[in-house]
Assembly symmetry: C2
Homo-oligomer: 415 residues x 2
């Protein structure tokens, strides 16, 4: 793929310059290369105004297929978390066109996916009572939307709402499997108390072992995956022992699902970021850098020889402020710098700092070859955290790994 | 204001609980309190689904008036940077209805403000050649849009484009006044070279002393403001001495403008974040915490007594990943926690960590009073960096400092 694309560019030499718009302008082709956003379908990524979010569909397909196979092996249902992609078009690739349940992080996602035919939806953020009318509206429209909670107060708010509104809700109790964020400990009497208050609305238990992001070795990941499974299954068994129903036992994070060896007692697994991968995931070993399916196309807008900096027009609004790789072995700053078409990483350089609409590329070695980054040329920046970077954009410009833009897919941001 | 609002809430005691939706639900009022986004105008902030971006119009007016007065004293034109608010409605307050020029960070902002009647616009990010057709489209439509650049290559791209397209461009040369990011040093022969290549298109010089954010004492701020002024004026004089026109001499950042004592030789000053203020600005002394005009309304969704955490439904997508206060004397984590109506800071607690849609409130002392944060109640989170936090939202819910929502103002995000 790399060689094919390099040929397309018609550039030679062992270190070809990046795809250049500036070069094109000299042949008189510039006037047609930039479009006002949303006006028309671009032909290639070089028709795009920058910054712009690129999505490599082939990498997405590969990542999606790998996870489907993994979950098939584990014998559970995959309920992908669409908070990463927030796009029905991406979901169609993830699900390979099948009828697949989803996890959402916002009710805006729930409305978007339900409007596009996805009916089995888990809203996996502890319910705020103020949102119950929005949940009810979706349920009344036919959406099988389930909520989660982990407090007596939320269970009572749900019970009061059901009583007042006459709508049927289903809720999962969130279990704390790692001390990382939310949830009830499986052995806490609160679990049974919440379950009893939910009564008919109790549909099961769920957890998210976010502490998996702190693991560094395979043994640690496998142990965390087993802990996530075991504690959640324990909670389910305690509820059942108390005479309460617990049909759903839901676990998951991209790292624990990637490293899980057995999910006995679990009914469904959730993961989100695996669809795109990112630099943090690559450091955690759940994907390789070559699997990362999204990147921010950006133009080189300045050179600063004195400070050995290349300036690009992707700042923290296009890349996000996420510094996730500050906490993993290799720190990529605000992102890895790549060839715009092939996505091949340019060694030694990173986006080391950002302002709102500026990114500053520097090198780890201190030297920088400005000839590699002509003014007006493009780079692709791989994200630290795909969920954060994608959320900065309202659409994906889809490629099949080359320079052609084969589709434009919209995202549903906000709440 | 605080007492008035507390009375409106009808809650007593020395530490009133925050405004509670959960409490309302018990009185049967919950069903009407949450609305689907964009459906109708909310009456009060308690009608809003969370998270939601609040804007206190009175604070905005105060901040805007203070800066207009400061710039009047300095005898220059104010060209506010609309990258912070990205809203024509906010600009109407900033400008007090006058015809005021603006600075933009994206061409999406330029299109939005031009469509609403603002014609004098500086696009203050080094131009990427790919964007020249978008710039030309605005100029042809009658917008007095100026661009900036600091390289021979960009000047040549502009010259070639003008020659091919027959459209008149004006450009400012970006000056490096602080070694912080971009620009040509005033004494660099490159300055004159770029100026000559621009020819008739040269309209002046501009700088942004972003290094002002590293200042900590009044003396340092004042020295940086003077350095920003002096080096930019020096660049203008060198261009003029070479026989080149330089009518515009543009400087600015919120800190340097706040601390500037004299702007001799400068024609216009730019600043953005002063309109809202934020926790970083409060630490830099350009505003007080009580001046901060925006905050993210969020619901309490969980308690974790074991780890002394309160969970809210504003995570890094609603607050941004900005950790600007990590670099100033007082670190506010991901934001200061306030009463939802008054905006009064609740002492001792901060949003200490975030996930995508979760914020975790902990206390500096280690103790936390869960009774202060009932499940379903709301808090308002003040931002580290107003530009980053506001960019996570597509609209402002405007108040006059009370609980009533008096207007809804849209933002223009993206590019």
């Amino acid at each position: 793929m790399v060689e094919h694309v390099t040929e397309n560019h018609g550039v030679g030499g062992s270190i070809p310059p990046l795809g250049t718009i500036a070069g094109r302008s000299q042949s008189g082709g510039l006037a047609r290369t930039a479009i006002a956003r949303g006006d028309e379908r671009p032909n290639t990524i070089f028709d795009l105004s920058t910054p712009a979010l690129l999505l490599d569909r082939k990498r997405l397909q590969r990542n999606a297929e790998r996870m489907r196979e993994k979950v098939r092996t584990l014998g559970v249902t995959l309920r992908p978390h669409v908070k990463t992609a927030k796009s029905i078009d991406v979901h169609r690739v993830i699900s390979a066109g099948a009828d697949m349940p989803i996890t959402v992080s916002t009710l805006a996602e729930a409305r978007h996916f339900f409007a596009h035919g996805v009916t089995d939806i888990l809203y996996a953020v502890g319910i705020a009572p103020v949102k119950l009318p929005e949940v009810a509206a979706l349920i009344r429209a036919g959406c099988k939307l389930r909520i989660i909670l982990d407090t007596i107060e939320a269970a009572e708010a749900v019970r009061s709402f059901i009583s007042a509104e006459g709508v049927r809700f289903e809720a999962l109790i969130e279990i704390d499997s790692d001390g990382h964020r939310a949830g009830v400990a499986p052995g806490d009497p609160l679990l049974i108390d919440i379950g009893r208050r939910l009564g008919d609305s109790l549909a099961g238990v769920m957890t998210h072992a976010g502490a998996s992001y702190d693991c560094r070795t395979r043994d640690e990941f496998e142990a965390m995956a087993e802990q996530e499974r075991a504690l959640t299954v324990e909670a389910a068994e305690r509820l059942r022992a108390a005479g309460l129903p617990c049909p759903i036992v839901s676990v998951g994070s991209t790292p624990t699902l990637h490293y899980a060896r057995d999910l006995a007692g679990v009914t469904e697994a959730r993961a989100g970021v695996y669809v795109f991968g990112d630099l943090v995931q690559a450091e955690l070993g759940t994907c390789s850098v070559d699997d990362i399916a999204i990147g921010v196309l950006s133009s080189v807008i300045g050179h600063n020889p004195q400070h050995r900096r290349v300036l690009i027009d992707a700042g923290f609004l296009a890349l996000s402020r996420d510094r996730g790789t500050a906490d993993v072995p290799v720190d990529w700053g605000y992102g890895a710098v790549c060839d715009p078409v092939t996505g091949a990483v340019i060694e030694d350089v990173t986006v080391s700092s950002t302002n709102q609409e500026h990114g500053i590329i520097t090198s780890r070695s201190g030297a920088i070859d400005f000839g590699r980054f002509p003014i007006g040329s493009q780079v692709r920046i791989l994200p630290n955290h795909a969920c954060a970077t994608a959320a900065a954009h309202d659409r994906y410009f889809v490629t099949d790994g080359g320079e052609d833009v084969v589709d434009v897919w919209e995202r549903v941001n906000g709440w």
